[in-house]
Symmetry: C2
Subunit: 84 residues, 2 copies
């Protein structure tokens, strides 16, 4: 069994209205030092697979096909072997 | 300037309908080895602050007050000093 820790983030050039809203909220709360906020996703996938190489390839395909939108998002992940 | 890399995740006992939906989607795409999926948030905050200790305290307060819902979510973060 593998645990994939996946980060999906907006590409740096893409506007992040959610991040702007959070930044505004933090300013309203008095956190005036906040310079910028970017909001992304953090996804944990537990995968029944014994072969680390196959697990890596599968997670990459999951990101490409469903978890990330390749037009506006980047993804990266780490794999960790866990007890099933 | 500090960059805070914040992870906000649902507490382990809390239901994650979004994660269940993603899991269903992955199964439909043929990734039958997927055992479970949990979806959280990954937030990057750039903070104008020179003192690392103060930066840490501020980010913790941001999480408590706005970024995480302490009833159902956990948060953790790392701080990294960056060039302003």
């Amino acid at each position: 069994m593998y645990l994939a820790k996946i980060h999906v983030t907006l590409k740096p050039t893409v506007n992040d209205p959610q991040g702007l809203t959070v930044k505004g909220g933090l300013h309203t709360l008095g956190f005036n030092g906040v310079h910028s906020v970017r909001v992304g996703k953090y996804i944990e996938v537990r995968l029944d697979e014994k072969d680390g190489k196959k697990a890596k390839e599968q997670v990459r395909e999951m990101c490409r096909q469903l978890l990330a939108n390749p037009v506006i998002e980047d993804f990266r992940f780490e794999l960790e072997q866990i007890k099933g």
